[in-house]
């Protein structure tokens, strides 16, 4: 058993590797003491994403998962740590040096309304990345845009319309088409379905799955909805207050959560008795967390979760648990994991 959370394997299959990534925001300091407060949005996150897989990232709102997503594609500068994409260290690349890397990694945003320029036609929005990267002459760009519209299930009739003329689901399809335009390897999807109706969510999730099969895409799928994440992810990282508290294969994680926070999140998902489950299985107990998520400006000492953890002991308030990788590939940051290591 190794206790080093940092992935050391130089697995050639790894497309994206984050090592100890931190993102701090300096807040306006106290006007009297002039002491600056620091908001630790992402606090030492290490993870690997292998080519072709989907890594789900879950957590409550404000846990830093969106910020992490932006750090991973360098949409924001990183305070500390290291991000490697496709074998290249992109942590400190300038905007200019980053430009040739950009086509390989794209974002799909949460709010399909805000992610499309209201003053540009859908076809122009999707063509923009192609124009930036000099895809070809205008006829080639037009062909490619039409092809992309087809891929995401929109028709050529939609090319000349403005974003406000589309439904939420259609807008998200435009956003996906834009992300696909430069044939990326990695797509970071930041809560791509949480703003959509449930009936539309399934359609868009299926589109994501189809696109992954067709183009061999790698996804980092950020969400707060555990049901959605379970449906799409191969592996799942659970975040709390800017840290990953548990990272495991989807089935392992859902089968037996090892971190008390994961267990609490899971218990919030309504159970459906569809008759296929084991009737002897004990009914899951619902764990209601008390209190709020602590202020990330004043992170609790020791384990960040100890203020709300039903199993917290003395040690938890004192020593910060590190993300420990077990031989089974599961990683937990807890002094007293619910599942024995191994």
């Amino acid at each position: 058993m190794t206790t080093d959370p940092r992935p050391r394997t130089d697995d050639p299959g790894v497309l994206l590797r984050a090592t100890d990534v931190t993102k701090h925001y300096a807040l306006r300091g106290d006007s009297l003491t002039r002491r600056r407060k620091v908001l630790r949005a992402v606090d030492g996150v290490s993870l690997e994403v292998r080519g072709g897989e989907t890594l789900g990232i879950v957590g409550e709102s404000g846990c830093g998962k969106s910020t992490l997503g932006r750090c991973l594609v360098r949409l924001t500068d990183i305070t500390g740590g290291r991000v490697e994409f496709d074998g290249q260290d992109i942590t400190t690349l300038s905007a200019r040096r980053l430009r040739p890397v950009r086509p390989g990694m794209q974002l799909v945003f949460q709010d399909p309304q805000a992610s499309l320029n209201p003053r540009r036609r859908a076809g122009d929005i999707v063509a923009e990345p192609l124009l930036i990267h000099r895809y070809g002459d205008s006829a080639a760009v037009r062909r490619r845009v039409a092809e992309l519209f087809d891929v995401v299930g929109l028709s050529a009739a939609h090319l000349d319309r403005y974003p406000h003329e589309f439904s939420g689901g259609q807008r998200q399809r435009i956003g996906i088409a834009r992300a696909l335009a430069t044939s990326p390897k990695l797509i970071v999807a930041d809560e791509p379905v949480s703003a959509l109706d449930v009936s539309i969510q399934a359609q868009v999730l299926n589109l994501f799955a189809d696109l992954q099969d067709e183009f061999g895409l790698t996804y980092v799928f950020i969400a707060h909805d555990l049901g959605v994440v379970r449906h799409v992810s191969d592996r799942i990282a659970v975040m709390y207050l800017g840290e990953i508290v548990e990272l495991a294969d989807t089935e392992t994680l859902y089968g037996a959560p090892a971190h008390p926070y994961t267990e609490a999140l899971m218990s919030a998902v309504p159970e459906i008795d569809d008759g296929t489950g084991d009737p002897q299985a004990p009914r899951r107990e619902r764990i209601v967390l008390t209190g709020d998520v602590p202020d990330p400006v004043a992170r609790p000492a020791g384990c960040a979760f100890h203020t709300r953890c039903p199993y917290a002991r003395e040690l938890c308030a004192v020593e910060r648990p590190r993300l420990a990788v077990t031989p089974s590939g599961r990683a937990v940051a807890c002094h007293y994991p619910l599942v024995a290591a191994g």
């Binding site: 950009r102 949460q110 540009r120 923009e128």
Partner: protein, 343 residues
């Protein structure tokens, strides 16, 4: 041969949605007061543009021609254009009053015997030119400065904002008068740009400069909001250089604001020009503007008030029309402002 569904499908596929600009134009054309204001402005501009025609072919004079000892014929009688004043101490002159005859001295003469109507039309050209170009210059520079400051942030934003604050800190007229007094003698030379001392461009540049913060600041504010929008993030994430993001994503979204500013700034610039010219630090003789005509009429206020009233009415009419049009443009471009009740 085609089926009904085929026929219905074709126009659907070809449908090209009207853009936001066309929608706004349609909105504006339905706004009656805005259309009326636009018509008033059209008449004022046309008449001003026709000034040489009036001077040469109708009044047979030019606006710079003094007629100190001239005479003209009114109701069959020959009368002098200027008569020595008979009131008070007998100082000065009393020019001829309005003849209400388009052929000569329709609105009378000023204290140098110049045809007020001809000067009014020529002055309108000057006032409109300065108002429109100063507003254009101010909006273009203000938008560019505001977009760059808002988008770049950091040091660039701080420097630009402090410079704007310095301009902002001065009372508008005080700053304009100071600049004019300094620049009137030698003109302005800024790198490749040289403005002659007597040029009409001098008031244009001065007026545009003092109002830049009034455009740049709200622009910067809008860009700050836009900057965090996800479509801007998407553009950056696509690898677009900063200039391209500003041009393709930011500018189209703040352009409506700039256009709303245009008529309002034109009105403001015309008022400022009139004030400066009235104080002799704007348009310089022999050029006429509505402001200089008011100044000319000041000494004749009790004997020949039309010299002052006529340009004053035109300034009021034009700026009022510009403001009504500006409100209409704002309603058309930003329908939410109307819902909020506007300002």
């Amino acid at each position: 041969m085609s089926t009904l569904t085929d026929q219905l499908a074709v126009p659907e596929a070809r449908r090209r949605s009207p853009g936001p600009w066309r929608t706004a134009a349609a909105d504006l054309s339905r706004n009656r007061s805005a259309v009326a204001a636009a018509l008033v402005l059209l008449v004022v501009v046309t008449v001003a543009l026709l000034a040489p025609l009036y001077a040469d072919h109708i009044a047979h004079t030019n606006p710079f021609q003094s007629h100190v000892s001239g005479t003209t014929v009114v109701d069959g009688r020959t009368v002098p254009v200027l008569t020595p004043s008979s009131t008070g101490l007998g100082l000065g002159v009393t020019p001829i009053g309005p003849t209400w005859d388009f052929g000569h001295y329709f609105l009378g003469a000023d204290n140098q015997g110049r045809d007020v109507m001809a000067r009014l039309l020529y002055g309108g050209r000057t006032s409109l030119f300065i108002g429109v170009t100063a507003a254009l210059l101010c909006c273009v520079v203000g938008t560019a400065v505001g977009v760059v400051a808002g988008y770049a942030g950091g040091v660039v934003d701080s420097v630009i904002s402090r410079v704007l604050d310095v301009i902002w800190a001065f009372p508008v007229y005080l700053l304009a008068i100071c600049l004019s007094v300094v620049l009137l003698t030698d003109g302005l030379s800024l790198g490749p740009v040289t403005v002659e001392a007597g040029s009409l461009w001098l008031p244009v540049v001065i007026i545009a400069a003092i109002y830049v913060p009034y455009v740049a600041r709200p622009m910067r504010g809008q860009v700050l909001v836009l900057r965090n929008k996800e479509f801007i993030q998407a553009s950056i994430g696509s690898g677009a250089p900063a200039l391209r993001v500003m041009r393709r994503e930011v500018l189209p979204n703040v352009l409506p604001t700039a256009i709303v500013f245009l008529p309002l700034m034109t009105a403001l610039a015309m008022l400022t020009e009139s004030a400066l010219s009235f104080l002799s630090v704007g348009v310089q003789p022999p050029d006429a503007s509505w402001g200089t005509i008011i100044e000319d009429g000041l000494g004749l206020l009790y004997t020949r008030p039309t010299v002052t009233i006529a340009p004053g009415l035109l300034i009021a009419l034009t700026t009022a029309a510009l403001n009504v049009l500006g409100d209409g443009v704002r309603d058309a471009l930003d329908p939410s402002a109307r819902l909020r009740g506007g300002v």
